[in-house]
Amino acid sequence: MVNGTEFKTIPRKTPEHIDPKSRITNFEEIHHSGSTKHTEEQSSRCMDCGIPFCHTNYGCPLGNLIPEWNTLISQGKWKEAVERMLETDTFPEFTGKICPAPCEGACTMGLYNNQPVTIQEIELALAEKGFENGWIKACPPLTRNGKTIAIIGSGPAGLSAAFYLNRNGYTVKVFEKANRAGGLLTYGIPNYKLDKQKIVKRRIDLMMAEGIQFETGIEVGKDISPAYLKKQFDAVLIATGAEKARDLPISGRELKGVHFAMEFLSRQSMKLAGETLLDGIDITAKNKSVVIIGGGDTGSDCLGTSHRQGATNIVQLELTPPPPKSRAEDNPWPLWPLIYRTSSSHEEGGDRKFSVMTKEFFGENGQVKGIRCVKVNMIKENGNVKFLEIPDTDFEIKADLVLLAMGFTGPTKELPALLNLELDARQNIKVNKDMMTSVDGIFSAGDAATGQSLVVRAIASGRDAAHKIQEYLNQKATK
C-alpha cells in the first residue's frame, strides 16, 4: 500500500501464460512473472492487515512476511523486499511457481472482492529479481560448530532442513537415492512447471556452495547402513516423503499400460535430463488414449505431460462431483477455497469427468484397452463421505494408458523397519512434538512424518525440524 486505498481501485491482474497451443509442443516452463511496474502496482493492492491472514493459521505455512514485501515493493524497494522475503521464504523460486498459494486463499482481498493479491506471482518476481541481482547468493556459515547431521531424502523437506542447519554452522550431508537431488521437485513435478536445470539445479548448486554435501545415487538401507549413519552423525533426519502411491486394486490392475502417475512423471523427467531409465522401460502417452484417474495436482501433471508427449485423447476422472464455482457457505473466507479450478494443464485440453467410479480395467493380450466406469452420488453421513453407484449408468472409456493419480499413503516401509521406528495410525513415521521419532536422535520431517501434503508444508516442516534438531543438540550439549 502506498496511499492505502489502492485496493479499491486497482483490479487483480496476473501476467498471461504462454499460449496453450504453442506451449504443449515442448517442456519449457510456462510461467513468467510480470513487469516490474506491473508487480509494483499489484503489490500496492495489499492492505497491510492488522491480522495478515495470508501469513498465519490459514495462510502461508512458512509465515512469509507478505505485507512487508508488498509494502516495500510498492515503494520500489526491491532489495529490501527480497531481504525481508528471505527471512522466512526458504525457496521462493519453487513456491513462487508450484505452490497452490494458501496465502491467496486467505488474503483479505478475497473477502473484500474475491480478488486476492497476486501473492504468488509477487513472490516469483521477487525470487527472480533476487537471483538476477545477486541478492540471493550463497551464505555459507561464518564458522562451523563441529556438529554433523545426516539427512535422508533431498525433497523439499530435506533440502529445507539442510539449508537451515548448514547456515547455522552444522555440517550437513544429504543422502539421495536418485541420481539427482531434489526429490519430488526434480522427478515429480513436470519441467514445464519447474525447470530442473535452470531452477532446481541452481538452488542445489547454491546449497553446495554453502557447504552442503549431497550424496546422490545412495539409498540408505541398501547402499549404506542406517545404523552407521546414526553412529556417525550427531543427528539423523528422515525426509523421504510419502512415496507409496494409493493403488486401485480392481480387476485388470495387472494389465500393461496401467501405471502409477509417478512412474510416468519421473520417467519424463529422467528423459529430459538424459538419464538412463532405471529398468529401461519407457512409459509414454504418444499417440495413445490416456485415462487419468484422480483430479488432483498429480493428475494435472499427468495431463500436461501427456499433452506434450502427444496423446491422441485424454480423459481425467474424478470420483467427487465438481466443486462449486465460488465458495460454498460452509467454506467461508479465509479457509482454503474449495472451488472448481482450472489448472494450466486443463487449459491445454483434455476431458474432465466428475462423479465417476472406475469399476474395472479391461484389455487384450495383457495390454489395457479401456476401463469400465459408473456414475456415483456422493453422500455425507456423520462426517463420513460415501459414494453410491447410480444404477444403469455404466459406461466404458477407451484407454491405452491408464495413470493412477489418487494420492499417496505414506512412506515406504523399509527404512523405518530397519531403524525400528514406530509408525502412527496412518502408517507415517511417528514423531513427538519435537519432531523426534521413537528413536533418540532420529528425526523425521515432511510427508514421511505428516503424510502427503504440499511442497510448502514440507519446506516449513524441514525448517521446523532444523530448529528442533538444534534445540536437541544444544540441550544435549548442556547436559
Partner: protein, 1511 residues
Amino acid sequence: MNPFGYPKAEGLYDPKFEKDACGIGCITDIKGAKSHAVVADGLKILVNMTHRGATGCDPCTGDGAGILTQVPHEFFEKQLKQLDITLPKPGEYGAGMMFMPKSIQCHGTIKEITESITKQEGQFFLGWRNVPVNSSVLGEIARSSEPHIVQFFIAKNNKTSIEFERKLYIIRRQIEKEMLKLGEEFVKVYIPSLSSKTIIYKGLLLADQINQYYLDLQSKDYKSAIALVHQRFSTNTFPAWPLAQPFRFVAHNGEINTLNGNINAMRARYKSLKSDIYGDDIKKLIPFIQEGGSDTACFDNTLELLAMSNRSLPHAMMMMIPEAWGELYPMGKDRRGFYEYHSMIMEPWDGPAAMIFTDGVQVGATLDRNGLRPGKYVVTTKGKMIMSSESGVIDIPPEQIIEKGRLQPGKMILVDTEKGRVIYDHELKAGIYRSKPYRRWVEANKINIRGFNIFHEQEVVSKEELLARQLSANYTHEDIDILILKMAATAHEALGSMGYDGPIAVLSDKPKLIFEYFKQCFAQVTNPPIDPIRERLVMSLRTHIGRNRNILEEGGTCAHLFSLATPIINNEDLRRIKSKEDEGLKSITIPILFDANGGENALENALTSVCKLAEEYSQQDYSILILSDRGKNSTKAAIPSLLATGAVHHHLIKAGLRTQISILVECGDAKETMHLALLIGYGASAVNPYLVFDTIADLVKEGRLPKKVDSIQGSENFIIAVNEGLLKILSKMGISTIRSYRGAQIFEALGIADSVIEKYFCGTPSRIGGIDLPKIQEETLIIHRKGYPLKQFQPLKLEDGGEFYLRKNGEKHLWTGMSVVHLQHAVRNNDRKAFHIYSELINNQNTEHFTLRGLLRFKKTTPIPLSEVEPIESIMKRFCTGAMSFGSIGKEAHETLAIAMNSIGGKSNTGEGGEDPARFKIRPDGTNACSAIKQVASGRFGVTSEYLVSAKEIQIKIAQGAKPGEGGQLPGHKVTGEIAKTRLATPGVSLISPPPHHDIYSIEDLAQLIFDLKHANPQADVSVKLVAEAGVGTIAAGVAKAKADQITIAGYDGGTGASPLSSIKHAGVPWELGLSETQQVLVKNNLRGRVRLQTDGQLKTARDVVVACLLGAEEYGFATAPLVTIGCIMMRKCHNNTCPVGVATQDPELRKKYTGKPEHVVNFFRFITEDIRVLMAQLGFRTLKEMVGRYDLLEQRDDITHWKAKLVDMSKILHIPKEYNSVPYCSSEKQVDIVSDSLDYQIAELCVKSFTNKFVSIIDLPISNLDRAIGAVLSSLITKKYGAVGLPEDTIRINFKGIAGQSFGAFLTRGVTLNLEGEANDYVGKGLSGGKIAIRPPSNVHYEHSENVIIGNTTLYGATSGKLFVSGTAGERFAVRNSGAIAVVEGVGDHCCEYMTGGIVVVLGKTGVNFAAGMSGGIAYVYNPTHNLDLVSNLDMVDIEEMFEENDLITLKNLVTEHFAMTQSKKAKAILDNWENEKYTFVKVFPMEYKRAIQNMLPETLKEEEIIHHG
C-alpha cells in the same frame, strides 16, 4: 501512621494517591481594621461553598474545613488572663495551635518537649490553653478521630518580628521532629499553626460546624482583619483532621501534579541549603517537607522555607507557580527574564491551582498558568476585598461594589493591610522582577546550545556494526518501519487503531527492554490534562543543564547553565556540551557497561560502581554527568539506560549531591518517545539517542526516506516528533513544563520487583512484583547476545517485531486469525462448538500467561446443578457495548449494536459522536435503535437536551483505555453530511475533542457535572468512565462521593478508532488492577454500596466476565469482541477510513461490504452467558449478584514456570480489606437524591402547567450561588413532550435577581428565556439547546458594566443552539466548543471561542490570549479598535478579516441591537449610537476550513433549491 492520619498502604490502596479539591475564600479588611464581622463573614463564605465540599459515608462528617485569621489579641488577652497568663503586646508573642492525641498519658511529655525546645531556642514559654470545643456537633467518624486541641503561647526574645517568626518556625519543626522520634501516639501530634501573626482553626468538619465546634470563633472579642477559609472535598472518607486546610500560608484549590518530582528535587537540595539568616539552624529545619502530607501540605512547607528566608511571599509564589512565559506568550523582557532566571533555580509546582496566601499582613491570590481553577474577587465601598472560588459567596448589596474581577491565568493580586491598598498583578510583579537584574544575569551567563542544526560529522557506522547495535538494543523491523521511519519522514508520531492485545512485558516470552515495564500515569478527574497543541503557549520543553546552586541564594552564577530548547539532543549538541571547559559547565562521561560474562552479579556490581563514580565526580568540579552506553561489544553489555539513570539519580539524592550535577544520557536503547519520557521522568536532563540517528542515516542511505529528507533533516524530524510526543505525555498528566516533569516519576511499574524499585526507581508504584535484578540482567544479556552472539554463523538480521501487527514469529496476540474466524463462524451459524473453540483459544492464551487474569484460577467449591442458576435473560442485562461513536464506526455497525443490545436488555453506548434523533423512537417494525447509554465526552458532540432525555444512563467519559488523557480530532474530510448532522457540525469542518472536559478540572467540578446531568434527565443514571492506573480507586471513591450511580473501570488495552501508537500501549494498566483497587478502596471507605461497578477492556469470554465479577464488577463492557461478531477482522486501519468490511469506515463504497446483523451480537452474548452459567454452577452461585466481589474464591496459580511470569505476585490484587466483613461489597442502595430539592426542580414544577398548555408565563425569583443548573429539569420536561423543537420562543420567561450558581441555563431548551439581574458563576449556558439567556448587572451599581466580570469561566460549553447576552465581561473559555449558539458579550478572558465549530460570538470589548485556538467553525466578530487581535489570537486555524461584507455588518448590527434590547447594555448603546464609525472597529474571525466548507456548500444548496423549483 503519620501526623496526617491516612491509613497505611494495604492491598492496592496506597495513601499517596489521595487527592483533594475544594472551595477557597477570603475576606480582608484592606486597611487592616480588625473586627469580628470579618471573621463571621469568613465563616459565611465557607457555608456558602458547602457544595464544593463533600460528605463521606457519614453525612455529618465533612472532608474538612478551616479558617485562618490574624492572632486575635484582644480575645486571647482576656482568655489567658483567666489562666493567669499575661500576654505581651500584639506581635510580641506567638500563638500555637496543637492537635494532641486523645490519650492523656502522653500530654505531659508533649508539653515538656514543647517547653524545653522553646527554652533552647531562647524564647519564653508562656503557657497552655485548652481550646473549648463542642464535640457533640461532630459526625461519628470525625468524633472517633477527634484530637485533643490545645493552644500554647511563646513570648518573643528577638529583635525583629521576622526573626521571631523564623524562631517559631524552628521551634515548630523541632517539636515535629521530636514527636516522630517518640513514635506511637506521639506521631499524631500536629501543629496547624505557630505564629505571632496568624492562627488556624480547622478540623474534620462541615462548613457550618466550624463555629459551633470551635467556641472561640463565636466570641465577639475574636477579631481579625483577615479571614481565610477552606472547604475540602477529598477522594476518601478517612478521618484526617490535619489535612483540613488552610495550611500555615496557603489555602489551595487544585492539585499539584508534579508533587513527586518536586519533593525529590527539594530533598536533593537539603545538603546544598545555606543561608546567612539561619546559619547552623538550617539543619534543624531539615527535612522541611513533612512526610505524608498532601500536595498542598508539601507546597506549604516549601513556600514557608522560601518566604521565611530572604524572599517575599509573592516572590516565592512566583517561583513556585510561575505564569507562562514562553516565546509564544506576549510578555515584557524584564518579566520574562525574571521567570527564566528562576526556572534555572527551581522547577515549577505544576498543576491546577487557585491559591490564596497570607502571612497575616499581606493576603494574595494567584492562579496557575492554565487558569484551571476559578478565582473571583470583589472590592467594596466598605473597604473589604473578598476573594473566592465563586461569586456570590457572601451577600454584598450591588451599590457597595467598586470592582468585580476574576483572577486570570498566571496572574496575582494582593492586599497589603499595612499599606492599606490593593496591589494588582502588573505593579506587584514589576516591583519584584525589577528588584534585581535578573534579565542581565541570564543574558550574561546562559549558554544556548541549540540554534543551528549542523551535524559536525555523522559517525559512519558499518552495516554490520549498526545491526549489532540495533539488535543489542532490541530493535525490530517494526520499530524501524512503523515508528522511526514515520517520525523521521514526517516529524509526527505514527497512528494506529484498536486496542493492545498482547501480553504485558513481564508475561511476554520475548525479552523486553526495561522501558516496557512502565506505564504512563495520566490525569483523570482530580486534575485535567492539557491540550498541548491548541494551548501550546503554556507548555515548555526548555531545559537547563549544569549545577544548581543554593536555592536560598540569588546572583548571576545561578544562571550559568546550558540552555536547550528540548531535552532531546543530537550528536553535535552533545559534542559541544562535552567540549566545554567552563567553570561550572565541565562534563565527564561514565560508561554504563557491564561485563557480559561477569557472572550473576555483574549488573549490580556495575551499577554500584557507576553510582560511586557519579558520587565522586559530583563532589569534584564537574557539573554534567554523561551516562554513555557507547562501546558495547561481545564482552561489554550495556546497562539498561533507564536503570542506570534511576540508580544515579536516586543515589545522588540520597547522598545529597543531586543538585551538584545534571545527568545526560547517551544511549542506544531509547528509541520511542515513551523511552525518552521515562529517562527524563527518572532524572535525565537531556538524552542523546544516538542509535536512532545512526538508524536514520542508514535509512537515508538505503533510500527509504523521501528524497528531500537527508540524515540531518531526518534526525531533526525525529526530534520534532518526540517533542510533540513529550508534550502529549506531559499534558496527559496536566503538566506544562518539562522542568517540573523531570524526576517526577509519573509512571507505574508493571512487573518489577520491589527490591529493584526501592533501589533504582524509589517511589514508583509497582503492585504485582516481578523481575528482580538478576532477571533484568538475564533479559538484558539475551538482548545483548542478539547483537553480539557468542558464536555467529550468519550475518545479523533484525526480527519482525509483531507488536502492533500480528506476525508469526512476533509478539503474541489474543486476537489471531483463528480466534477471529471461530468467533465469526460461531455467531453467524449459531454454532456453539465453534464458540467453544474460540473461548478455548482465548482462555488458553489467557492462562498461558498472557493477562493478569490468566495467572488466577478459581478455588474448588461445591458446585450446584446448572438448573438452579438464574436464567440467561437476567444476566444479559448486565452487558454493555463499549463507547464507539458514530464516526469511529459506520452507521450500520452503530445501529446493529444498539438494536442487539436493546433486544437482550443490555445497553449500547453512543460513544461521543451524538446520535441521530430519528433513533430515539421505536421503529415501525418494533426495533429499537436508541442507545441506552448516552456518552458525554469532552467534545460534547451532539449533546443536547433531547439526546440526554433519551438516555437510560448518561456516561461521562473521563478517559479512554487506548489513550487516556488525550483528546482527539476528526479531520474535516471525514466529517460527512451524516456525521455532521448527528454531531451538529458543518460537513468538512474538523471536530476536535479537547483532552480535558472544560467543566471538569477537579473532583468538585465532576460533582457539578453529575448534578447538571441528573437535572437534565432526572430518570437517568449517571456513570463515570475511568481508566485503570495506580490511584484509580481513590479517584473512584471521590466519584462515588460526587454522587455518580455507576463507575466504569476500563483497562488500558481498550480499543480506539485512532490514536498515536505510543499511547495505545504505554498509558494505563490492565483492568484487573484497576478494578480490584477500586473495589478495595470503595469498601475501605464504605462507599461501595452506593455505586455499581463496571469493567471493560478486552473482555472476550465467560471466564473473563466471571473473573471480573469476582473482582467486584457487576456490569461488563465489550467492544472489540462485538465488533468482531459483526465483521471486524482486526485490520487496525480504522484511522485510515479504509475498513474493508465496512465496520469502521464512512466510505459509502466500503460500507456496502458490511454484513453484520443484530443476531450475531445476540448470539455472542447468549454464548457468553451460557458459559457464565456453567461457571456459576461450578462455583456454586445461583445468582450473579452473589458472586460480585467474591474474590476470596480466586487464587494465584502455583503451576507457572514461565521465566518471568513466575515472579509476578498477585497478592495485592487479592487482598481483602478488613472492612469487608462489616460493609457492603457490592451495590446495595440507590445513590443519594440530589435533584428533588433543588430550585431548578421547583421551577420545573411551577412551569408544568404553562408548557403543557403552551401558555406564556413570566416568573420572578431570587437566586443565590447555591442554586445551580437552573433550567435543566424544566428543559428535560419540555423536550420529553415536544422534542428538540421545544416551545415557541419566550413561552416561559423567568427573571432572576441575585448571583446564580454554576451551570446557569444548562441544556436550556427552546421556548425558555432566563433573565438574570446580577451575575453568574462558571458554566453559563452549558449545552444550551435552543434557550435564551440574558445576564446584566443590577441597575444600581457604580462600576463600569462592561469592564467588570459578570459571568464565570467555560461558557456555552457544548452549546448547540440558542442565544446568550452578557452585559459585562466573561471569564476564561467563553464559547468553548460552541457548535451553534449565538452570543454577545462585552469582554472575555483567555481561550475565547476555543474548539468552536459553529455559531456566532460577538465580543464588544477586550479579549484574552489564545483567542480562537482550535476554532474550526463558526464566526466571531470582535470589537478591536486597534485592529491587532492577531497579537493575542491563535491563528493556526483562523483568518482575521476586516468587515467588508455587507451581510456581516447586518448580522452584527442585528445582534448588537438584540443585545441592547435584552440587557440595556450601555456599551451596546454607545456602539449603536455611533454605528457608522464604530462598525469599522470590528474584525471578523473566520476559520479557514469553515470558509471553505461554506463556499463548497453554496452551489449545492442552490442546486437543491433549483431541483425543488423545477420539480
